[in-house]
């Protein structure tokens, strides 16, 4: 299959999957030689990355907290392990990390689309590693990770004119006691570690639905927009003290309640950073959702 001559602009899907051990933190790699590799002999443009998780038994999921580490070719494109909830925005909120309490369950493929051209050279590969959160549903009997990329062939394009994505993510502190909390992301999380300005395309905001594995009914309640609208408020500033979000603003307003992202389209200077402040009012709750914030940026590719 590899090395086939394909037509210009022809679609190509790359895919790989791997089993994982449930109940412990594992780093799983996709070992198949063809998996997630550009098996054509043409340059590919990656349009969308997709992830999914599949279990053999019903479970109430922590999928947004499953962490992924990605490389495109030899280049790291995630800031270490990043929670899936930080790099995914759904077509609509109902397909976010959906689990099923009565059926073997698979989350709908998460998706991260690229607004700028990201290329994959012939033979080059996307390396994906997954890590389970410490509190993942231990009743699940088997789990499989899936990763894919929707691509198309491009021609007449200099690969060096492309970009590399840069994902980083922040997960709020897990809370177990009702109360009011304020926390800030560390500057190193949303920092531009490169020598060139980072084109920040969007910030992504999700939350873990059911951290304590209560009933599905509780999860349904937690999925209410009220959580985003009322209980988690967000501020954001950059390294120069500029206030991107000056006043504490509901999570579901900063991150569109359906699409779950904020299309910021801004530049971040080298060594610059963004800091998010979360103000949460969990006084009336017995279950405590965890906010997950992500940033998708692009840097010029010199490959």
């Amino acid at each position: 299959m590899r090395g086939l001559t394909m037509a210009a602009r022809q679609p190509v899907v790359l895919y790989g999957s791997t089993p994982a051990t449930v109940g412990v933190n594992v780093a799983a790699d996709i070992s198949d030689e063809l998996a997630l590799r550009n098996w054509s002999n043409r340059l590919l443009q990656i349009r969308e990355l997709r992830f999914a998780f599949e279990t053999a038994t019903p479970h109430l999921i922590h999928d947004p907290l499953i962490e992924v580490s990605l490389r495109i070719g030899n280049e790291e494109v995630t800031n270490g392990f990043v929670p899936i909830g930080a790099l995914h925005w759904p077509a609509d909120s109902r397909v976010t990390f959906t689990g099923n309490s009565t059926a073997p369950s698979a989350a709908m493929p998460c998706r991260a689309g690229f607004a700028l051209p990201v290329f994959l050279a012939p033979g080059e590969r996307i390396h994906a590693k997954f890590r389970l959160p410490a509190n993942f549903d231990t009743s699940v009997s088997a789990l499989r990770f899936h990763a894919g990329a929707a691509c198309k062939i491009v021609e007449g394009v200099d690969p060096r004119s492309g970009y590399l994505p840069w994902f980083s993510g922040y997960t709020a502190v897990a809370r177990t006691v009702a109360g009011i909390y304020v926390e800030r992301s560390d500057p190193s999380v949303f920092q531009n570690n490169f020598q060139t300005p980072l084109v920040v395309d969007r910030f992504i905001g999700n939350w873990d639905l059911d951290p304590t594995r209560e009933t599905i009914a509780s999860a349904a309640t937690l999925d209410d927009y009220a959580y985003g609208a009322k209980l988690i408020r967000v501020r954001c500033e950059d390294h120069l003290g500029n206030q991107l979000v000056r006043d504490a603003t509901p999570f579901g307003v900063v991150f569109d309640q359906t699409r779950r992202y904020w299309r910021a389209k801004t530049l971040l200077a080298p060594k610059g950073f963004f800091r998010f402040t979360l103000e949460t009012d969990f006084r009336s709750l017995t279950l405590f959702p965890r906010a997950i914030i992500g940033m998708l940026g692009f840097r010029p590719s010199s490959r």
């Binding site: 001559t5 210009a8 999957s17 599949e54 109902r94 959906t98 059926a103 073997p104 894919g148």
Partner: protein, 327 residues
């Protein structure tokens, strides 16, 4: 107030169809440009609304087919499923009023489904020119259902804008074209074993004299409930409905697609939902020469339906693009 040259225009027509009515024509006059200036048409929106209310019924998106022409040029390879026309806006949007678990609060409502076919290049309709379309329900799908689906009102709406009087109408235009395929993934219940389903000779083909440039491949998966109430819902990978157990996991529906030059979309069989994603389509361009065809392959892993109420699913696929008009 005088109309200006960029006025938006919608040409629309609707008909009521039943499960036995067969192909029913839309009013050709309503889909004709009756003004003195050309009209530029950018997309077709197909909407189907059930005529009854109450418990969830068969999805219009899954069952309705259309067939049409522009300037005596076929736009469809016969009657094609509207599910193959365009991307999903969202999974939820595909299933409004249909979800069993939503029935408690949607009780008393009917259902609707809508899909958009966006044209790569607008069609310019000269004064007096128009579309001729007809619609019907898919008899093969109806045969799978325990009870006849509701009557449906199907509406076509061509969306565009007026051009100035005397604006030039291209002699040969790009005609939007779709060829579809239907894979009935049945007979895998119980001890049926693993099976491979291939699209047929007349499906995903270009029967025209001019090459077809495909702009996207559309793919949706529906489950069929063979007991009442009838249901024909688009499913996502997590199979929202609880009685779809064991058919839900990704690795039991593996897909690949062969282009006319025999190259393939995926290096190996790939989970259907990883190919088409949340929005039920994949973008890209390829040519289907006259009389050539593509082949879709679905590998269905044996599953245990013991105690379950359904044992059929149907996959609808479309290659959607355009071809030069043959003058």
């Amino acid at each position: 107030m005088a109309l200006n040259s960029a006025n938006p225009v919608i040409l629309s027509s609707n008909v009521l169809i039943t499960s036995t009515s067969g192909p029913t024509a839309f009013d050709a006059g309503a889909l004709t440009n009756l003004s003195r200036s050309p009209i530029e048409i950018r997309e077709l929106i197909v909407t189907a609304v059930g005529q009854n209310t109450g418990a969830p019924r068969a999805s219009a998106l899954g069952l309705v087919k259309i067939k049409g022409k522009f300037n005596r040029q076929a736009m469809t390879s016969g009657l094609v499923s509207v599910a193959a026309l365009g991307p999903a806006r969202s999974w939820e949007g595909e299933n409004i009023g249909n979800l069993p678990q939503m029935s408690s609060y949607l009780s008393g409502r009917g259902f609707a489904a809508q899909v958009r076919w966006q044209f790569h290049r607008p069609i310019v309709l000269a004064p007096g020119a128009g579309f001729t379309f007809e619609t019907a329900m898919d008899a093969d799908d109806i045969a799978l259902l325990a009870s006849a689906p509701d009557n449906m009102r199907v509406t076509l709406a061509f969306i565009g804008r007026d051009l100035v009087q005397g604006a030039e109408v291209p002699k040969a235009q790009l005609v939007p074209y779709i060829s579809d395929a239907r894979l009935n993934v049945n007979n895998v219940a119980g001890t049926g074993g693993n099976k491979t389903f291939l699209s047929q000779q007349h499906e995903l083909t270009n029967p025209n004299a001019s090459p077809l440039t495909v702009r996207r491949i559309v793919g949706r998966r529906f489950y069929v409930n063979t007991s009442a109430p009838s249901a024909f819902l688009m499913v996502n990978a997590s199979a929202e409905t609880s009685n779809y157990a064991s058919a839900s996991d990704l690795t039991k529906e593996l897909f690949n697609f062969q282009f006319p030059d025999r190259t393939k979309l995926c290096a190996d069989r790939t989970p259907f939902h990883m190919v088409f994603g949340q929005r039920a389509f994949i973008e890209g361009e390829f040519i289907v020469p006259p009389t050539a065809r593509c082949v879709a392959e679905l590998f269905s892993v044996q599953r245990d339906y013991t105690g379950l109420t359904k044992n059929n699913e149907v996959v609808k696929l479309g290659i959607v693009g355009d071809r030069p008009e043959v003058v």
